[in-house]
Amino acid sequence: MSPGTPFRYPALALLAGLLFAFAGPVPGRSATGQRDAPASPPSGRRPGATALAAPSGRELLFERDVRPILKAHCWQCHGEEDTIQGGLDTRLARLLVKGGRSGAAVVPGNPNDSRLYRRVAAGEMPPGPKKLSARELRTLAEWIGAGARTARPEPAAPSAADSFTDEERAHWSFQPITTPAVPRVKRQDRVRAPIDAFLLARLEAKGQGFGPEADRETLIRRLYFDLTGLPPSPEAVNRFTADVSPDAYEKLVDDLLASPEYGERWARHWLDVAGYADSDGYSEQDSLRPWAYQYRDYVIRAFNADRPWNEFLVEQLAGDELVPAPNRDLTPEQADRLIATGFLRMGPDGTGASDADAPTARNQVIAETIKITSTAILGLSVGCAQCHNHRYDPITQVDYYRVRALFAPAYDWKKWRTPAQRLVSLWSDAERDRAAAADRELQALSKQRQAELDAIVQSTFEREVAKLPNDAQQIARTVRSTPPAQRTPAQKQFLAQHPFVGVDGASVARFRPDKLAEFTKRWDDLIAAAGKARPADRFAMCLTEAPGPLPPTHLFARGDFQQPRQEVAPGELSVLNRAGAEIPSDDPSLPTSGRRLAYARHLTNGRHPLVARVLVNRFWLHHFGQGLVSTPGDFGTQGERPSHPELLDWLASDFMAGGWKLKRLHRLLVCSTAYRQTSRRRSALDALDPENRLLGRMPVRRLEAETIRDSLLAASGRLTRKLYGPPVPVSPDEGGQVIIAVDTRDGSGRPTGKFVPLGDEEFRRSIYIQMRRTMPLGVLEPFDLPPLSPNCERRASSTAPSQALLMLNNPFVLQQASLFADRVRRQAGADLATQCRLAWRLALGHTPSLREVEDGVAFLRDEQAANTPNAEAKPAEVALPALTRFCHALVASNAFLYVE
């Protein structure tokens, strides 16, 4: 600090100064002398990234302390690539001592003579802006100074890239899932479920405990939103608050889990992870996927039926391999298995678009599918290893192509099938026969229709020609039989004078309007009737393997498909494959290769370290606002460590032991003491745990976009409770806002002014609204509707003026406020206090206090007075607008938008 510089935060400066002193001198360019270098807060690397051990009293070892630093900063140029820069390989301590063309890089015992240290400390290496941190430099210096020790003799060659160090293999999430003992706690009286004991043990260690239980109105609203995504009705609240039986809460939980809305709510979470969309994405064309909804419906059904997750995952990864070939005459169960593989078809796919560069687009589909699968099920960002070994996690580039090989028989980029070619008809053989018969019939009808039309045309000509003099008749016949291009000027003139000479199917109506009207109607009816015999189309959007020889999978140098290298066999990531599970390249017992099926069974065999942990962490996230691991899509070294590792393991093993049943897990979580706490903050707890990782209270959460829209419909009473089916269409309106409507724009995108009424479809739950990648629905988008590129691991929850403008002025919101007021007026009668109470309970799920009712009534009165243009105005004319304003304020309020 130069003297006299105002410094507003002395305490911060002091603390920052201390940290700076700890971090040691920052190397690199020296200060210019204008003023002191700014004090350095700790570097911005992501919290939880603990790969870099802090220098400490203990002996520094290459494998544990130094290798991760070199791997992140040096390996790509000095080791991994075909040409090793300067001849220096930095992957083994021994090779550092040996050095490159410039000589030894490390002189054990002497950092200042070590070229490696000198160059990184001078900021010359690595060449990019990302230099080593002060702490990393100090580790390096200390390690060299202490003799550059290794933990054990080093392997012969660094090129055995799959041989990770023990330190890398020791990352917590790669370890087998254990079943930790449930801890004993002081407040046993607050333990309803084992999860309470795990949470409480940590809170008690900090001198804290659970908060008090929330009141019943709060609890039922929390449960309704968590389990169904809809607010409780006043009747449901009444029933619950009046129910004095000891298991009232548990009964409510069971009722909600049994309701069809449960499946709609929880399917939405999984569809985010799967990247569900009703369009292809990738290019501006963003073609529709008319059959994607079958997968959405399958997921809703699976949740409602409480399908065990091991089966659910196997079906989504390899359902096609469980269905006998050819995929004909399927039972409903078999059809579901094909539809389930829609999971692997959810990523953007531009290969059906005309403007896409084919090889790039194809390989992109495969990359996106791997990205979705790995973040969803493994919780790892495997995608990083597409071009080079993963920088932070022990995932090699070979590993990446092992995973790719799993999908290769179905996604063969050299023998590609477009989205349309991948559709499989779900028709039974009988339906196929009926369709074929109907098609034959339609074809025959079409022929007959044409023949009759030809006859009418001919008879029309004959009738008209007969009216001409004889010689002219001959000319007329000649003109008619002459092809138009060969007609002489005289013939053309004749034609202009006698248009009937050119009569054909298109123009015959001008000469015999009545006849044609009768003809058209009769045939249209006949064809429509015959068309009815044809069963409606039913397709599954699924992933299947094409018959024929299996394509080889090559590693692509730098991820470039034009640079194929060695062939790679299918398999699990090597770091996860302690047991050495084999994935067959071609299972002789199956008509398919069996690769995905074997992989799916390996993932769900109960011994996989990641799958169950990743799943229960997601389920936890949706109940408690954040996961035990707060990076649900990254369980690698760059992700956050679990806040409660034992609890996570206990949950994962209990989940598997309980048959992978989700409803059982829901019960466990929502019936706990932890879940029933209030969300009230306590200052002592806040000070200790500002991010509420210890869960000494429940969080206050904002509703998601879909839940806000669905709740508006619930409050107005207009929600259409119809399950399943094709999506409700969306279209841009004239102002450019995407609304729910049939798209009636013409071929060049201009509005035609046509309007197709949708009826009650318009008011269905948001999960049934078409999810078009380029056209997010205007009432959903501002509330953090995720861009699906390709999937969403976790929703954001932002606060922006666009959200406020939406709640204030959007036509849908205003419409619902008005319908809501109608409903209140109808059900509550004219008494303002009664209206106020009912509206409150419908929108916010609880009973207003006396003061709140008084305030509401005062608002309604004032509003009526303000709306009264003159003393003679009838009360009814001013009452409803006032009530609408009131209802509007309620649904725009934080009490509506947040759940405690």
């Binding site: 130069s2 510089t5 410094f7 507003r8 935060y9 305490a11 911060l12 400066a13 920052a16 940290l19 700076f20 360019r29 210019t32 204008q34 003023r35 270098a37 700014p38 807060p41 700790p42 911005g44 919290p47 060449p127 990019g128 802006p129 990302k130 140098a557 640079q563 009230r680 806040d686 206050v700 450019g736 806002q737 205007g778 501002p782 861009p787 590129s789 932002s798 606060t799 922006a800 003026p801 666009s802 959200q803 406020a804 403008l805 939406l806 204030l808 002025n809 959007n810 709140e852 305030d855 303000a866 709306n867 304003r885 304020a889 725009a892 309020s893 934080n894 009490a895 938008l897 405690e900």
Partner: protein, 481 residues
Amino acid sequence: MSHFTRRHLLAQSAFGLGGLALLDLLRQDGALAAPPKPELERRDYDLKPRLPARAPQARALISMFMQGGPSHLDLFDPKPELANHHLQETKLRFQQDNTEQASQKLYASPWKFLPRGECGMALSELLPHLGQVADDICLIRGMHTGTNGHETGISAMNTGRILRGRPALGAWFTYGLGSENRNLPAFVVLTDPTGIPVLGVENWQNGWLPSLFQGTVIRPREPRILNLDPPAHLRGAPQGRTLAYLQRLNQAHSARHPGEHDLAARMQSYELAARMQLAAAEALDISGESAETHRLYGLDHDDSRDYGTRCLIARRLVERGVRFVQIHTGNQTWDHHGGIQRTLPKVCRKIDQPGAALVMDLKRRGLLDTTLVHWGGEMGRLPVVQNEADIGRDHNGQGFSMWLAGGGVKGGLVHGETDEIGYKAVQDTVNHYDYHATLLYLFGLEPQQLTITRPNGFGSLLDGQPGQVVAKILERPPSPA
């Protein structure tokens, strides 16, 4: 106070300032003594104007972000050596993004460079309008991030690190300084009609700063802000009464949930939204600008109309006290891997005249002194041929150019150099840390003042990186200690 009287006058006359905001402004001008007491940690976040540690030179920033990597070799950085060795092989090893199409053939710019302005700054013939303001801009030819990817480069230039997930510059500056206009968002983003840049919404994210500080996107087409207009029967008093009741509800709700920042931020966002209904429509309406101004920004040409309109809107926003405006080009607009001879002139026709007009217009309105203008992307391009069939240039984060104007930066200055073929920055190198340190200095912010508590310590824009204020380009550089 004279240097920004006009800004305040406009803000005041058009929308009327509340007493509180006026107090803040007076305080900021030093007209009232005693700045607010230092707080250890801000518990409630708002967008009220805040006093920086030192007297600021710049009060607003307009960043024209050129995503894709504009070719400095064809626009800003003439290299006679390339002409001397045109299409000759070089032995230098370049970090290539697309190895398949990479070559070692040097490629001279197909365009001429001419000295412009009194300073004689050499600029490409592709930027004739920029030449007219050469004496007002500071061209930095020694930019360096060292990273060659779009994502990493954007993150570096726009958030301070090559990592993802950090707060964008605009979020930092509004967090540190608030806004001088209560009626408009403090951090406004103007996106291109053809799409949003690489990294999408991350370009204006608040990262780990409170959500109040995230950028507000103004749509590239009308209606530029959705849901801005209430229906006629609600306009004015009826909506005002509903809002007053809504805020009473929210206050009572908030009182039951002390410490929930999100609830308070949402209450503020309703207030802002309500004020925006009037102010934003007025600020975004360019129909009152003179015909001469329309022509100045190139609104009479198809090529430059869209971009010119957005530059003009940016000026109107800054004039009204918006702190940070970022104008984006489309997705990979500048990513000329191939066909550079065809495509680069087209992009220049889109942005050249509007960008120059912005500098001229700010200057003649007396706003340039306090408004910093930035023009640049996430990297430059290589001096060698990529894709011989249809020549382009590959990525280059080792050396590239950008320019700044106003806000305390010297005009008519060329700062820094790349090597003789324009590959690496070699003289007076400026990296993203230096750029950000300079921004902080110009806005009167001490790097350590701009921090936020994070679970593992503090987060800040520089986060301890060795960024140096680029003193040579400043009108009033920091005095030596």
